[in-house]
Amino acid sequence: MTRYLALRVGQAVLVLWAAFTAGFVLLQLLPGDSILIKFQNPELGLSPDQIAEIRRLYGSDAPAIVRYVHTLLGFLHGDFGYSIDTGTPVLDRLAEGLPATAKLATLGFLVAVLIAVTIAFVSSYSRFAWIRGALLALPSLFVSVPTFWLGIVLIQVFSFQLKLVPVIGGTGFEQLILPVLTLAVPISAPLAQVLARSLDQVQAQPFVAVVAAKGASQRWILWRHVARNALLPTLTIAGVTFGELIAGSVVTETVFGRNGIGRLTEQAVAVQDTPVMLAIVVLSATVFVLVNLVVDLLYPVLDPRLAAKVGVTA
């Protein structure tokens, strides 16, 4: 087991390095650069000589490989450099944004799971075919709703028209309701679909009939047998869904004027703030790797058959 863990951690480090390198190379390939964008901004009225001077000061006239090594060493020491746009250390900007995004994303994910579970279970156990049909149509409806549009509609309806929750001001909790919903709904869709499908599949398994033959009630079968088996494929999707969570938070945070990593991303991309973008790439990769590591480690807990396989490789 420890060997398995060490292997996985090794893989994770490799993935992160690859993400860093790919990020660095891609950002190099973009036309223009942050210094050009920032200082050639007509509002500053700087001459090309002055811009060249600034570029020297930032060390961005050094050859790419030198900058690569320099940046990589910086990252290894936890120094992500300075945001060219705001001049703040990138680490500070991440530290400012991360808690808000983590809160939003976690709640968004939990609510998505809640919505997905509700849809999946109600549809799987609904006695009326039309309810089932309607509920299973919901996910495709959800997934085709653009986050941006959903956010605006939620704000218009619940905040501006019904005045139920403020978007401006309000308590921390009030400020979370609509963004969390906006983020959760599109993500809940694939989860609900996978969960509903695996519920159906598990329902059809012979062991379910065996449990029923022992005299178990519907509820007993559902909670003690079907749910846990249906969770496995859903868990895989949940790990993958994390990517959508990142993308969703960019839009959600912008629409709701929330601070966070998503907002930071949007701004950094707008002005090509290379150090910030690179740090975000590595941060996202880190979280992605961690989430998937957790998912992988959860599998054997949920499914003893996989525990055996993990044991074999160890």
Binding site: P42, T86, Q156, F256, R263
Partner: protein, 544 residues
């Protein structure tokens, strides 16, 4: 109330809304407080929605509009420019002398002014500020300021007297001391490196408000300085600001900002899109369309481009562009049609509307003369080359994409194809200095001084034309060195004529900053280029 009076007020002219200053104060109150008889009250919190989060707050680099809402409340300047008369009035400097050729400026400072960290605002601090603004500081990576030209050095005469020396005449400097970028910061702030000065927490000024709390990218809370007592002497209101607190909340989505205002969640918002103005007004809220008094929103044609090097082609495009249609189709009365390169309210403005009329027949004949013949697809050709130009959508300009697309439609009528390209800022920045990749640009500059025209066109400033025209540079430099205001205005008029005659500019409209505010928000005022000042603002709604 007040609907009709409000409308008539608006009709009376946007300038009236923005007035401040000793004489103007009464009229300003009369304008903005239309119908709300009553004494200003102290207290309350103003919720102000900003379109974008502040960027770097190093003052000379902080012209970005979202910074204005913050910085103008935090810092004071040496002088105050009356936005209506554009006259420079005393503020931190209670008086000043300028030598005959405008190479020496001596300022006498007000006593007892302190920064919010308790340090005094004295001659030494002012000298330190302007040494950085005038010369930059390479060690600290601090760039020089656009509004200071020919700066040589400072000289501290005594505790409250400071003198600035210039290498060449610098008549624009006095106005320069009144702009947002000339905000005075503590000695500690000005000696920080660029990255540090960029950050709000490090900006220590002497203004009527101080920062209480900041959530980066989301919210800035300002609180009134109780001991503030150095407003420009011309103001009717002296002492501390009326408001206790200002919550500046970043709300990027246009319709969220407007919706929050009209649903009572916010009091005051910046950047109301033209198409939202009616919604705001219909809800009983007020629109403040503030002129920016500078170079108009327009298209700027680059003579270095291989197609646009021909003055006839440039003139043809100018004649073939219908600015009136642009405004009527896309904008509102808040966006007056341009009548010159400069805004009607800019210093040295001259009315060139006669030269700028829409005349497609003239455009067609000019292009015929230039040898561009219509091809089968209606697009003109010359020597196998199509008369095709491209332009980038300009992020900061309101409805830039729609504007450019409409212009492109107009140009097809004269046989010119305009490709409207949307690109990220990196691509744009990389192509900006190449007249072939960027044959024309969509831009504007706001600054209430004659020098604004130099900022836009001079090869060592923004150089929007990538100019290869030595004569233009010479004219701009002459203007910049003229000390006499009348002579300077005359030169500015000459430059406007020259730019239009050469077909360098296709002015479209006078770009305003459009704000929306609730009816209970009084004392709304702006500085000369439409950045808000909250010093005079008070709320009649008790629960706010």
């Amino acid at each position: 109330m007040p609907r009709t009076r409000l409308r008539s007020t608006l009709r009376a002219g946007v300038a009236a809304l923005a007035t401040i200053g000793l004489l103007a104060a009464c009229s300003a109150n009369a304008a903005s407080d239309a119908g709300d008889a009553g004494q200003p009250v102290y207290g309350g919190t103003l919720t102000y929605l900003e379109h974008q989060p502040p960027s770097c707050l190093y003052l000379p680099a902080a012209g970005f509009y979202p910074n204005g809402g913050v910085l103008n409340q935090l810092t004071d300047k040496l002088t105050w420019q009356d936005p209506k008369t554009l006259k420079i009035e005393p503020w931190i400097a209670k008086s000043w002398e300028i030598n005959a050729d405008a190479t020496e400026y001596t300022f006498h400072l007000r006593d007892g002014v302190t920064f919010s960290d308790g340090s005094p605002l004295d001659a030494e601090t002012v000298a330190a500020n302007f040494d950085v603004y005038g010369l930059g500081n390479k060690e600290l990576k601090l760039p020089v300021a656009e509004f200071v030209n020919n700066y040589a050095r400072s000289e501290v005469i005594d505790k409250s007297t400071v003198k600035f020396h210039f290498n060449k005449p610098s008549p624009g400097f006095l106005q320069g001391t009144s702009v947002i970028g000339a905000g005075l910061v503590s000695k500690k702030t000005i000696s920080l490196p660029y990255e540090e000065q960029c950050q709000l927490k490090n900006v220590v000024g002497s203004g009527p408000f101080t920062v209480a709390n900041q959530v980066v990218d989301k919210e800035i809370d300002l609180v009134a300085r109780k001991d503030y007592s150095w407003a420009p002497p011309s103001f009717a209101h002296q002492g501390r600001a009326y408001l206790d607190k200002i919550k500046i909340i970043v709300t990027p989505e246009d319709n969220v900002r407007v919706g929050a205002l009209t649903s009572g969640q916010a009091d005051y918002v910046r950047y109301v899109q033209a198409y939202d103005e009616a919604t705001v007004k219909a809800a009983g809220y007020r629109i403040y369309a503030e002129p920016t008094r500078g170079v108009n929103n327009g298209l700027y044609l680059r003579p270095a481009n291989s197609i646009l090097q021909d003055v006839n082609v440039r003139k043809a495009l100018q004649a073939g562009t219908d600015a009136k249609e642009v405004v009527e189709t896309l904008f509102t009365d808040s966006y007056p049609v341009a009548t010159s390169v400069l805004s009607k309210l800019a210093a040295g403005y001259v009315d060139l509307s006669a030269q700028l009329g829409y005349d497609p027949a003239k455009a067609n004949s000019l292009l015929d003369q230039a040898g561009w013949v219509r091809g089968a697809d209606g697009i003109r050709e010359k020597g196998g080359r199509k008369l095709q130009l491209s332009v980038f959508v300009s992020g900061p300009q309101p409805l830039s994409k729609q504007t450019l697309e409409l212009v492109a439609q107009q140009w097809t009528k004269i046989g010119v194809k305009l490709d409207v390209r949307q690109a990220d800022s990196g691509t744009q920045a990389a192509a900006l200095k190449d007249a072939e990749k960027t044959p024309l640009v969509h831009s504007m500059v706001g600054r209430a001084d004659q020098d604004v025209i130099k900022s836009q066109f001079h090869t060592r400033n923004r150089d929007v034309l990538l100019s290869n025209d030595a004569q233009l540079d010479r004219l701009l430099e002459e203007q910049s060195a003229l000390v006499d205001a009348n002579a300077r205005n005359a030169k500015v008029a000459e430059i406007q004529r020259y730019v239009v005659d050469q077909g360098y500019a296709i002015p479209l409209f006078e770009e305003p900053q459009v704000y929306g505010a609730a009816p209970y928000v009084h004392g709304v005022s702006f500085e000369a280029v439409a950045r808000p000042s909250f010093y005079d603002v008070w709320l009649s709604k008790k629960d706010k």
